[in-house]
Symmetry: C2
Subunit: 318 residues, 2 copies
């Protein structure tokens, strides 16, 4: 049997047919077209799914289930409760999509789904427990325990980006202040970069962003840090320190076997990973004991399709 995986983003919807080992066999894409009635968006999703299947000769009876990763949260009845980027609230995604292919439909948060994909066939494959952190515009979390995604009892868990890390600190889009993502997202690197470059007119960052701090990116800061621009290095070191504390937060709370770093910031690879690994020990309480391995995600953009598809796969016995 095969599984359909659907990765819903603000720009495009990626759809793939996936085998039971998490291998993508074929895929397709349709624009999201945010702002249209949800019936239209889900209609495009359904037609694209059937086209991907048809173009590659997969019959409905060969499909066991459909899984969908959304940048929001869903309830147990397959309704999307919130999906801020899409402007969705209480959208009957399961029921609507089943009009196109009547199979079991599983829906979960995109960070949860990406973390699950890494557990299925990525860097945390087969581990006892893992916590995935997507370091992008914000910070999302994906927890896998006992071979299943963990979104909590009410489905509102793994929002690790919104744990308070510095009370009275940087205001967050969620309405609170000092949330973890204010210090560990790409947005945080850019904010800190702009602050530091304003104080240091000689920094290479001014050149990289062509004199316009609005054009500054996380990559520019890291690139300048790599060639030892002092201003960029300070931002990088501050960021690494926050990330070490964020990883320590995960260790002190859940102590998973692995912490996986994904999202745009993680593309910095070993340059970032080595620095974070080096910094974590200073925050550990039990200095002599083993603790979570820190790794960079392996599956990249495919994680969304793979993890979503695998939501519908029965749990294999350990």
């Amino acid at each position: 049997m095969y599984y359909i995986g659907i990765d819903v983003g603000g720009t495009g919807i990626q759809i793939g047919v996936v085998d039971e080992n998490g291998k993508i066999l074929c895929k397709g894409e349709t624009p999201t077209g945010v702002g249209r009635p949800y019936e239209e968006i889900i209609g495009d999703m359904g037609r694209c799914m059937l086209k991907v299947m048809g173009d590659n000769d997969y019959k409905p009876e060969e499909i066991a289930a459909i899984g969908i990763g959304i940048p929001g949260i869903a309830d147990n009845d397959g309704n999307v409760i919130f999906c801020t980027n899409m402007g969705w609230k209480n959208v009957p995604l399961r029921k609507e999509l089943q009009k196109y292919l009547n199979k079991p439909v599983f829906i979960d948060n995109d960070a949860t789904v990406a973390g699950f994909a890494e557990y299925i066939c990525g860097v945390s494959a087969g581990t006892h427990s893992s916590v995935f952190l997507t370091l992008g515009t914000g910070v999302g979390g994906g927890i896998v325990i006992g071979g299943r995604p963990w979104s909590g009892f009410h489905g509102v868990g793994s929002e690790i980006g919104h744990i308070p890390m510095d009370i009275g600190g940087v205001p967050c889009t969620c309405g609170n202040d000092g949330c973890l993502e204010r210090y560990t997202s790409a947005t945080a690197v850019i904010r800190m970069g702009r602050e530091r470059m304003a104080q240091n007119p000689d920094s290479m960052l001014h050149t990289l962003c062509e004199g316009d701090p609005e054009k500054l990116t996380c990559k520019m800061v890291f690139d300048a840090a790599k060639v030892k621009d002092e201003t960029a290095l300070r931002v990088f070191n501050d960021y690494v320190d926050y990330m070490a504390r964020a990883c320590y937060t995960v260790i002190a709370f859940l102590d998973p076997e692995v912490i996986v770093l994904g999202g745009g910031v993680s593309k910095a690879g070993d340059f970032l990973l080595d620095a974070i690994r080096e910094r974590i020990p200073q925050y550990l309480i039990f200095k002599d004991l083993p603790y979570s391995r820190i790794e960079i995600a392996r599956l990249g953009n495919d994680a969304g399709i793979i993890g979503a598809a695998m939501l519908g796969r029965p749990t294999k016995e350990a």
Copy 2:
């Protein structure tokens, strides 16, 4: 079959025989005598255990297992890795105790064990998932997932008191700064009380502690807050705010069915509980969705014996 539960504290060791439903059938106690060689302490523990059994006619063949809660952490081989209050490091507790009664010995952290007891027969009985917070000199955490205590992959998890909550904040005994327990323990209430009373010579707190801030207790602050002493009320409100953020941290991370508050501070009961419950919603991201119930622990001092004993009970099917 019956289970032995042993609650190891810095002053005394409590030992009980417990049935499979978590009911304590009989119990005894022996002084800890911290500072003596571990063989002597474990010897007293073993002899007290046999005496409690003998005095109440429980035969060795009726005992299925022994469980021990320690203010520290142990490895999977039954060695106590750290137990700061006892001065223990790498103590072969299982092996040593089996000289007195050769049964399977399970060891876990005391907060974890207390949280497990509440899951077995207390306020969180039979729940999907729970997080227990002991609010005492420090703050300990006990996580129960799928009917089993969760201490993480390496056994260093559920140290919720040491999650960074206010970077650059109050220095912690662990060497970090701004740890959650610096704001949510009884110690935190006393610290904030002393700071506020120094600025307010008219506060009732001066009378309650007989003019000596060193004698100030958490209970004095809460008692004065109940009768609306303005200084004490400010401390209480600040504490409630920190506790609401701490509960929100648990919700945002794990979203358990229940969060259970135990330890000395929780004796304030509904006065504290109602205030925390009222404050939490302002920190929630998903304002319209259900979230973890907040409850006060029910088992009090018995939780240590019960939870320890139940470590050895086979997991019942859900």
